[in-house]
Every structure is written in C-alpha cells, then in structure tokens.
C-alpha cells in the first residue's frame, strides 16, 4: 500500500516547507464502520424509534420502500401519544380541566395539521422531481411528527419546572413556541433526507411546504386556544390569526401589570 509520501504514490504529499526536518505524516484516524443495515419490515416499535433517532437515513429509506403502512402508523401513533404526554405537562400550568384538554388539543391539532398539509407535501415533493408514493410521504411525515414529539418529550421536564415557577402566560407561551420550533426544525430535516434518498437536489418546493406546515401548526394553536391558559369555553368563540392572538396575550399581560 502506498504511503502519502511514498515516491511511488501517484499523488505524493509535498513536504511542509515551513518546518525543517523530515515531513510529518498526517495523524491516522480509524474509520468507523458505516452501518447501513436496512430496517426489517417487521421491526418492533422500540427498534423503529431507535432507528429514527440514531439512523434516520435508514428509516427514511425503509419508509420509502415499505410495502405496508405499518411504520407510518407506528410512528404516527407514537407521535400522538408523545404529544399527549407533553400536553399533560403543558396543562399543569393552569391545572384543572386543562390537564386533559391540553393533551387532547395538542395531539388532535398536530394530527389535523398533518392531514391538512399531507396532499400538498405529496404534490410539492413531486414538483421537486421526486418519485414519491403517497404511502412513503405519509410515512416520512409521521416520522417528522414522531421526531418532533420525541424532542418535545425531552423538553417536558424543563417545561414543567418553568410552568410551576412562572405565572406569565406570555413567557410560558414563548417557551412552548421555542421548543416546538426546535423540535420541528429537527423533524423537518427528515424531508431533506427523503430528497437525498430519492436523489433529488431541488429543495425549493419542500422549503415552501415546510413554511406552510409551520404556519398551519402555529395557527392551529390559536384555533384551538386556550391550550396553556384558561377560558370559559373549550374552543374560542372568535377567530383570530396567531400573530394577533400573541400580540393580544403579550399586551394584555403588560397592560394588566400597569
């Protein structure tokens, strides 16, 4: 085998002209084996979740090539449960009936957002030139939601601590928003992996779709309010856009302190 400075090497490394003495060979880093074992079609739930976290590329490939919707249902079901768990923590801010309303609203709201945006994801992925199947897109979207919800569950203890310490609806709302966006940023990376797997470079339409999905999910939080605070009715009597609602919440709190 040719060494880097072996004269017989086709591309010998030139000696370092700044230092005197014999040329130094670069430090050798042992190459880690790349695990590319495909995910078995009958893989158990924990294995699927482990793959989602550790080898998302393998999961995305499996979702694209899956001949059944088992993985999609598994990931979707897990996402709903994880979001419900996070919702319980959200509900602890107000307590009372919010302990069951918040998880219900968060799970169903996320599901509704996915259903609203699923047809456009299929078309937008196709517009990018990807040869996708509806099942494959559904699977990846379930994985996006599952990864987002998994991260939210990870944030849950932090949220709980703040929920017990603060009375400010605006602050807690901002915290949830921040965590949702962080979770979603990780989740939406799976769409990029899907495009890589399908060997598609054009990401423009997928980015536009990601923007639409983020907006829909944010509006969903306003459409299903109150999720964090309390109100006389389970659902809002008046329609608002999320930016207006947030502004009202923040200015309302600031006004009440005056």
């Amino acid at each position: 085998m040719n060494q880097p400075n072996d004269p017989a090497s086709p591309n010998p490394t030139p000696p370092n002209w700044r230092t005197a003495g014999p040329p130094q060979s670069p430090p050798t880093v042992p190459e880690l084996p790349i695990v590319t074992t495909p995910l078995a079609a009958d893989a158990a739930g924990p294995t699927v979740l482990e793959t989602l976290l550790k080898r998302p590329v393998v999961l995305v490939a499996a979702l694209q090539e899956a001949r059944s919707s088992r993985f999609a249902l598994l990931l979707g079901g897990f996402a709903l449960l994880a979001l419900a768990a996070y919702g319980i923590v959200v509900g602890t801010f107000s307590g009372g009936e919010q302990l069951y309303l918040a998880p219900l609203k968060i799970s169903l709201g996320a599901l509704a957002s996915v259903l609203i945006c699923l047809p456009s994801l299929f078309i937008f992925a196709s517009l990018s030139g990807a040869e996708v199947t509806f099942r494959g897109v559904l699977g990846v979207l379930s994985a996006v939601l599952a990864l987002t919800s998994l991260l939210l569950v990870g944030f849950a203890p932090v949220v709980w601590v703040f929920s017990q310490s603060s009375d400010s609806l605006g602050f807690i709302g901002l915290l949830h928003l921040l965590f949702w966006l962080i979770g979603l940023a990780f989740g939406l990376r799976l769409l990029g992996m899907m495009m890589d797997h399908l060997r598609v470079r054009d990401r423009f339409h997928i980015r536009v779709w990601s923007g639409i999905f983020v907006l829909v999910s944010l509006q969903m939080t306003t459409a299903l309010r109150p999720i964090i605070g309390k109100a006389d009715t389970v659902l809002p009597p008046e329609k608002k856009f999320f930016l207006g609602h947030w502004a009202d919440t923040v200015y309302g709190e600031a006004g009440s302190r005056d």
Binding site: I123, L127, G129, A130, K239
Partner: protein, 230 residues
C-alpha cells in the same frame, strides 16, 4: 403509462417523458387534463367562495374552471398561430395540449392546497363579524399567493417543455412569453367579467355582477391607480 402516473410525471416536470404525449392522436389524455382542471379548480374555487356564502362557493367552483377553459379556448387559435409564426415548429394541437398541461399542473397544485385554503377560511374573521374586512383581505391575499405560486410553477414547467420540443431555445422563449402575455391579457379581462370570485362584503351574492360586460379590468386598474395618485 396510466394517467395517474402521467399526472405525477407532469408534477415532476419530466419533459423527456412528456414529449411523446404531444404526438398522440388519441384524445384520452386531453380529456384527463380537462377533468383534472375541472375538479382541481372547482375544489379550490369552492374553498375560495365559501368565505362569502355556500352559494358563492358553488358559483366560484363553476367559474374557476370556466375561466381556464375560456382563456384556453379564446386564445387557442392565436397561440397556435404564434407557435408557428415564431418558429417553434408546433402544430395547433401540440400548442393546445402544451398549454392545457400547464393549466392541469396549476390545477393539481391548487387542489393540493385546498385543505390549507379551507384552514385559512376557518380561521379568518367571518362575514358576520366586525373584522369582516380583514377576513376578506386575508382570503384574497391567500388566494393571490396560492394562485401565483401555482401559475409560476406551471409556467416554469411549460417553458422547460417548450425548450425541449422547439427548434431552438430562443424560439421556445419567444413562444412562451407570447403565450403568457396573451393568456394574461385575456385571462385578466375574463376574470373581470366572471367576477365575483370571493364576494365583496356588502354586495349581493351573484353568479355574475349586473351588467358584467360593462367596463374592463384595465379601466378598473387605471381608475384605481388614478384615485390613488391624484
């Protein structure tokens, strides 16, 4: 290749696969395109009109595909002539199918965005609320954005297809811009005649406004600009 696969190929913009479709003498693909335009635009139109009233939704669901077909039909001869005069080497039939495929893609995109449009509608201030002006503006702005996106993507794909089938890339560009200008010019006036699509609050729900052929889109734009500036 069945027609569902063809629609997906159309979405992917695989021009190479689309070229043989323009040579077909069979009209089934043409019919599929017409059906997709009808259903896609009707779905989206229904969502647009629903903010004003259910009957307005039904009217808009009829008028949106009608607008597409009237624009295509009204310009079919002109577009075919332009394609030949500008050296594209396309027959009348090939020109018509190319344009119809572009509108089919736009309709598919609009149909896919219909659930999002409905979600916006559900969240927009309703006609009975004090903020109905905001509701109208939000509905209109969303529609403009969605239709513009669908239009830009569909025309981008049309240009790509033309570049592949025309004799030279320059000829493809000339034909594309001339078609676009003609379709926009006629389409804008037809949309003026077929108004209302969303339905202005305070005005009655109608299929067409009283005396729809009075005035033009361009006069209205000129009048609005004059009011704004002077």
């Amino acid at each position: 290749m069945n027609h569902v696969h063809r629609l997906l190929t159309l979405c992917r913009g695989d021009s190479e696969a689309m070229v043989p479709w323009l040579e077909e003498r069979d009209s089934r693909w043409l019919v599929t395109c017409a059906v997709v335009i009808t259903l896609g635009c009707a779905l989206y139109g229904g969502a647009v009109g629903l903010w004003r009233a259910p009957i307005q939704a039904a009217y808009t669901a009829v008028k949106m595909p009608l607008l597409i077909f009237l624009t295509c039909g009204g310009n079919a001869l002109l577009n075919g002539l332009l394609a030949q005069v500008l050296g594209a080497g396309l027959s009348f039939r090939q020109s018509a199918i190319s344009i119809l495929m572009s509108f089919t893609l736009a309709s598919l995109i609009l149909a896919a965005l219909t659930p999002v449009a409905l979600f916006v509608l559900v969240n927009a201030p309703s006609l009975g609320s004090a903020e109905r002006g905001t509701g109208h503006s939000v509905t209109m702005l969303t529609d403009v954005l969605f239709i513009a996106y669908a239009g830009v993507v569909a025309n981008g794909r049309l240009l790509r297809l033309l570049t592949r089938i025309c004799t030279t890339p320059e000829a493809a560009k000339r034909v594309f811009w001339s078609w676009l200008a003609g379709n926009l010019f006629l389409g804008a006036q037809l949309s003026w005649i077929l108004r209302p699509f969303i339905g202005t609050p305070g005005l009655p729900v109608q299929f067409l406004r009283d005396d729809p052929l009075r005035g033009t889109f361009y006069e209205a734009v000129f009048g609005a600009a004059k009011n704004l500036l002077f």
